[in-house]
Subunit: 343 residues, 3 copies
């Protein structure tokens, strides 16, 4: 693709794009900056830019709105496009070059589909998929090999279910969702009542709702509750190996990084970010726009907009102070002992 | 179901149940208190009760043994039943209204079952299940779609294996166990001996034993050892994404919450509770009735009955004190510096 | 097998082996020391040896180079072999007695294999395996039941793919690798650009490379990146439920224990050891031979050869000091308050 064609295709969606028209290389791939070669388009984030523009052999670059970098690129005869959001422009460019694999829209002969399953238009159901009774599947849904769907599940339009994932009974999955390989949606919540002989199992009669645009990472698990629902709001994204317990209610546009665990009944607001390995205790409530850094242990409510860190979680500013002093504990202890003696 | 019928069905198992006979609504579902409507039975835990009894539109409630709540319910014409263990009564009521999905007791034509597999009575083997040579399966076992069972596994009566789980070679699973979707039981323990060229793989010739009534959560993994066994005792329950390393020995009636990880050779007693994301180091021993709160890092033995917290784990009482003071480290440090100068 | 035969078979690979020739029992199994019986060979590690040599009923023992233990064994008529690396000798002995289950080298009739897949010699493809278009599979590869391989994957000679694992598009797996059950290799990296309406999905056009001899534990996940590669170096071993984010670059002969999580773009050197539940933040670099103890939270670079602990990670020696003092915080706080008053 000519660089000029790329700009033409990109412009309608990225309206504040600027670019240099005179250098117009042929582009045939997109590469990380340190693997780029002639005919590559490339992009890097942050301060390492300047140095790399000087040495890369890429033919085109996505730059921030920085005229000195643009000038440098021109001097080196590298085509460039600039955007107030270079990362977004990069994603949009990638979409012009690459589409992930999808099975073709047909029903494979080895799929086992109950008689009463309702299938939308142009549905792809790959080899060895099993779909139980009472399931409803929307248009353009794509189900990869070896997926299992339990009874009375509904799956919205254009949703993808990757291989070896399991969607348990009565789960509602909205439109434009992606369930990655090995994820389990709607498994039984972990509920056991202690009795003298051990445990009495709490039946899990509720169900899971994923609203439109939800993404669930590989081997993540979202449990259904005893009664009511476990809900993930619109466009919320979960990374790999995340656990969402029964009755959790997550808002919209939030993001949970890998290995995050939410116990039962946790409430998460909109645009919340939980970094890797964060744990949240039963019933804790996390307000809109809150952020928790990696490995944070949240035991009580977090206010909207707050950033928390540490286990147990405290405000991030306090955490940074405390962490810095933490390393000085031997010194503090020594002084305190000396002072204590003089007391 | 009439409320009076529910009480009749429930009474034999919940002998200390009390209820109000005069209000006798028709019940057709069980709902969380904030979603209940007429003809719902509902239940909530803890102090939020009083307020909700005042406003719910549920037709019946499970209450603790509290005469003022009972009187309030009568005043509002809500049927009630009271139990010294309302949560247990709730579970028992749910069992009257709800049964989870189970495949019917037949062998699906697409299942691949070795010739010498021994099958009990009324076994359900769903689509695309693969069962290798030398496996023995008890009565009323139910195997959901796409499960794989390696050679020489034994599975006890009434055990359920949910979809996409893998039971590796020579695993013994007892009666009345539930293996949730995607779990892997009996995979090779993580054993590599460092040698000059890298690693020499330790063969894993042992096997996993799950005693009766064990439950293993979605995508959890239990490894087999080099020699001997990895054992989970009777009625012990594991939540999702739990890792149990080779040669671990778990007692009876314990519960491990989501994302707990046990390294190799860990010993866990009876009625132990490990909360979410707890990690336990190689060979550590945890006594009967011990409790570890979420994200605890256990590096050495924990006494029977002790509650531990923190990483590295300390007694929970000490932890609570230390955590409270932890936040005051900036203040402490400031004071110590001032005092140090005056020294 | 006679003990003398075992020694004969073992000697070529374990050249510094010493043994006692006169006691020559028949051996029929290898057992943990506390389950050993006559005709068992056994082995234990560490200081518990002496006591066990005194009481075991095993017929043969693997001992360290310790003449007093050897003498004790002879006195008790127990055959022994000694090695400077008893653990390695144990692994080598186990290999003489035990081979894990492998499907036989044939293509099962229920496997669904695209027409253009290139298959090496003596490949085993078990029941219900699905292999998409453009895949290349080397000699002696063994694919267990219900595995799914997406298009354009390459798999090297002698590699094993255990049940229910998923290898996503364009992944390169080297020779002599083991992918354990339920693992997902090459799933989409977690990349979303925040926009006013929520998130814009970053396409993940890169791919995963596993070099020769890599092992990936059950239900672990290794993500592919937006551009470029995620790479695991030769002979590096990953335990269960490990997460490796997009663009991570791992060196050779490293080991990651269960539930370790690496965020995006992490660099890990050669012979690095990360213990259980360690988390590593975006772009952090860990030098050759570094070690992180369990639950460590690594937010910045770790030098070659350094041992780190704690969250946030500090040098292990400092960590041990700080952890010891940490428990004394109540006492420190009390003293500081007293001193503060006297200020």
């Amino acid at each position: 693709m000519k660089f000029s064609d790329l700009i033409n295709q990109l412009s309608p969606q990225a309206h504040s794009l600027t670019s240099h028209p005179e250098i117009n290389p042929e582009l045939d791939n997109i590469m990380p900056i340190d693997e780029a070669h002639p005919n590559s388009l490339s992009y890097i984030e942050g301060d390492r830019f300047a140095k790399m523009v000087d040495i890369t052999t890429a033919s085109a670059l996505i730059l921030p709105l920085d005229s000195s970098l643009q000038d440098l690129a021109i001097k080196r005869k590298i085509a460039w496009l600039s955007s107030p959001s270079p990362r977004l422009a990069f994603a949009q460019v990638l979409n012009l070059f690459y589409q992930p694999y999808q099975p073709s829209p047909q029903i494979h002969s080895t799929a086992v589909i109950a008689d009463d399953v309702k299938l939308g238009k142009k549905v792809a159901i790959a080899a060895n998929v099993v779909i139980e009774s009472g399931v409803t599947i929307g248009d353009d849904v794509c189900i990869y090999p070896n997926v299992v769907v339990y009874p009375h599940v509904t799956i919205g339009d254009r949703t993808l279910l990757h291989s070896n994932c399991t969607i348990e009974e009565r789960t509602h999955i909205g439109a434009d969702c992606v369930i990655h390989s090995g994820a389990v949606i709607g498994g039984e919540g972990f509920g056991f009542v202690p009795i003298s002989e051990g445990w009495y199992k709490m039946p899990q009669s509720g169900y899971v709702i994923l609203e439109d645009g939800v993404e669930v990472g590989c081997n993540s698990t979202i449990d259904r509750p005893a009664v009511g629902t476990t809900k993930i709001g619109k466009n919320t994204k979960l990374d790999n190996l995340v656990h969402v317990g029964h009755n959790c209610q997550l808002g919209e546009n939030s993001a949970l990084a890998a290995q995050v665990g939410l116990a039962g009944g946790v409430k998460v607001g909109n645009r919340v970010i939980l970094a890797g390995q964060v744990g949240v205790a039963n019933q804790a409530q996390i307000g809109d726009g809150a952020i928790a850094s990696a490995q944070t242990g949240i035991h009580s409510d977090v206010k909207a907009g707050e950033t928390v860190s540490g286990s147990p979680a405290v405000n991030n500013k306090l955490y940074l102070k405390v962490s810095a002093i933490y390393k000085k504990l031997p010194e503090i202890y020594k002084t305190v002992r000396q002072l204590g003696k003089s007391l």
